[in-house]
Amino acid sequence: MRGAGAGATQIIGALLALAWLALGCTIAWALRDTPLPILPEVRVAVLGISIAALTFMTAQAMIGSQRTLYENGDLALLFSAPIPERTVLLAKLLGIAGTIALTYTMLLLPIIVPVAILGHPRLFGLVALLAAIALAAAAIGLALTLTIATLIGPRAARTVGQILAALVGGAVFLGSQLLSHADRRGGATIALFERLRADGLGTEGLSGLPGQAGFGDPLAIVLLLGGALFLFVGAGATLQRLFLSGYQDGSTRLSRSKPTGRASGRLFHARLTRAVFAKEWRLLVRDPALAFQIVLRLVYMAPLLFVAFGRGNALPVPAVLAFGSVLIASQLVGSFAWLAVSAEDSPDLLAVAPVAKDEIDVAKLLAAFAMAAPFAMLLPIAIALQTPVGAVITLIMTALGGAAAGFVELKLGKPGQRRTFARRRSGGFVAGILSLLIAVVFGGGAALGVWLVSGFTGMLRFS
């Protein structure tokens, strides 16, 4: 079954890639005789996208470096083989660069290369620019990881890297949403571009290099690609000692050995729910990067809130807050339930315990509820200031939405090792869609209920 599923995914992926390439070829054919003017605004945009891509890729390279150092497990074999350490490091760096550039390559090359071949060879510069960014990001990401690991230890380096990556992702997303939201109000993006262009940023000097290289200026390509290669090879030459010690530290210093000194009796609970909650809570707080990623999921709901709070929106504030409350609760409870099920290191322990699976599921769902409660309670409290009945409706719908989203995750989640959890997140696509649907249905119900109650209260006041 699993093999068949993976096969189907590969076929769908290949078909999508072919369709994307066909689109690229169509665009290339349509543009083959059309001159492409390179406006200054485009160069500014290339600079902005290059900076964003470099930031993203560096964060990804940090995560890739941590996996290479602490998780993959093939370094022992490589270091014991008769291969120079520098070669091992450069090969690993190349692997990181390839991995972080893969998504961009898949998205850009099927469009750019056909256009470049059919009459616009200058666009090959974008391929060189992408390669330069990936090489530089790999070198910077590894250097940052090793520096942090040397300064504060491999455990902290891992956590800091994961949090940084999540922050970068969240910040870029939020920034883009703010810009596009502001743009609808008054052309803020255009104003920003005008300002940057007036200052010469993105068109002249060093800041103009990405725009020039991207559109085929040979000198700019040589400078950027040469600089990136210099960084890449320089990292390989200078970081090998740190890389080796980082790898060795990883196997010995990743565990925490500081005793907590807690009285043992307080840890034991008579009720299954409490025991499960205590375990899930401890595992969560001891994995700050994972906890941070979950809370950061709220950032990705920003567009919905921007729409709800947008100018010209006729909905009253309590109704919007009610919708937001259900949205937050369903996302958080769903995320925590998903974590409790999908990051279960010892599913066999639960299977051999004299407890029915449903009981464990309920206990995990309650644990997820308890963890999400502090966040989910905020908006109902705010609503209560204006309409207490509306707050009660919101609370009920929030609880129902959270329970439904958590239930979906419990039923669809598959247990696996916690340390591999971050890589398995893509498996929750169906659950993600369902939980969004739940949020919309229950959130819509809550908003409607609060809106009706607010209107009714208003009418009473009026009469």
């Binding site: 034991f268 595992l283 051999v352």
Partner: protein
């Protein structure tokens, strides 16, 4: 009035399980209470599959399993309440300390908190883990992890303790303490079933030995009984094992 015979710790009848091919094919096995029983067999013989079905981790295609008279297939929770399962890879949470792990296991078995805390203290002292009771398991050696898992298996005082390759990868000192712990369980009247590839361990420790091959019980008895049935009197368990499980190899040796 005559006393009824004591219930066997484990009674398996007609057990069958097929994955891509039959792994267990009509296995009958009975293990009396209060003994250390070693289940031996070549790789792929079906030892682990059998014990996973006993522990409730896999469902048989056919057959019955009774643990101290409790039908493990009809009333799995009652059977699990008196059974402990310890696989070769310890079922731990890396970010929990041994004490926290034991608290979680005690919660799963719904033990009285005060009693469980006392048992945890006793086991941690006994298994020489007291100093590490608050240290997260992620940095532990394989042997230490196995001892934490053993403490987890023992904390709810199981009547039947099932261990799959419990000594694999342990150093001599760790292996000794695990063996001592198992012997102490048997001395206390509990039943212990182990699978192992280390035949010397079975030879020295086991009260009775079962040899499984091709999904069936090939031979069963004390070491002397096995030697007698295999015609290897005075020889080692290794010779007996090879003769019983691989007649072809025996023929080559004889030539």
């Amino acid at each position: 009035m005559t006393d009824s015979p004591p219930l066997p710790a484990l009674r398996i009848r007609g057990l069958a399980k097929t994955f891509d091919k039959p792994v267990i094919a009509g296995l009958d096995l009975e293990i009396a209470a209060g003994q250390l029983y070693a289940l031996l067999g070549p790789n792929g013989a079906g030892k682990t599959t059998t014990l996973r079905m006993v522990a409730g981790l896999a469902k048989p295609d056919a057959g019955t399993i009774h643990i101290f008279g409790v039908d493990a297939l009809r009333d799995p929770l009652a059977a699990k309440a008196i059974t402990a399962w310890l696989p070769d890879e310890a079922m731990l949470y890396d970010k929990l300390s041994p004490l926290e792990y034991l608290a979680f296991v005690a919660g799963l078995w719904r033990m009285d908190p005060q009693y469980a805390a006392g048992e945890a203290d006793r086991l941690l002292h006994w298994l020489d883990l007291w100093e590490q009771r608050d240290t997260r398991c992620e940095g532990f050696s394989r042997g230490m992890k196995q001892k934490v898992a053993l403490a987890g298996a023992l904390i709810h005082d199981p009547q039947l303790l099932i261990l799959d390759e419990p000594l694999t990868g342990l150093d001599a000192s760790m292996a000794r303490s695990v063996k001592d712990a198992l012997r102490a369980q048997v001395d206390a009247g509990k039943t212990v079933i182990v699978t192992t590839h280390i035949l010397e361990v079975a030879e020295r420790m086991a009260d009775r030995i079962g040899i499984i091959g091709g999904g069936k019980l090939l031979a069963e008895g004390t070491l002397d009984e096995l030697r007698e049935s295999a015609g290897t009197a005075g020889m080692t368990l290794e010779d007996t094992f090879i003769r019983l499980t691989d007649p072809a190899a025996h023929a080559v040796t004889a030539i």
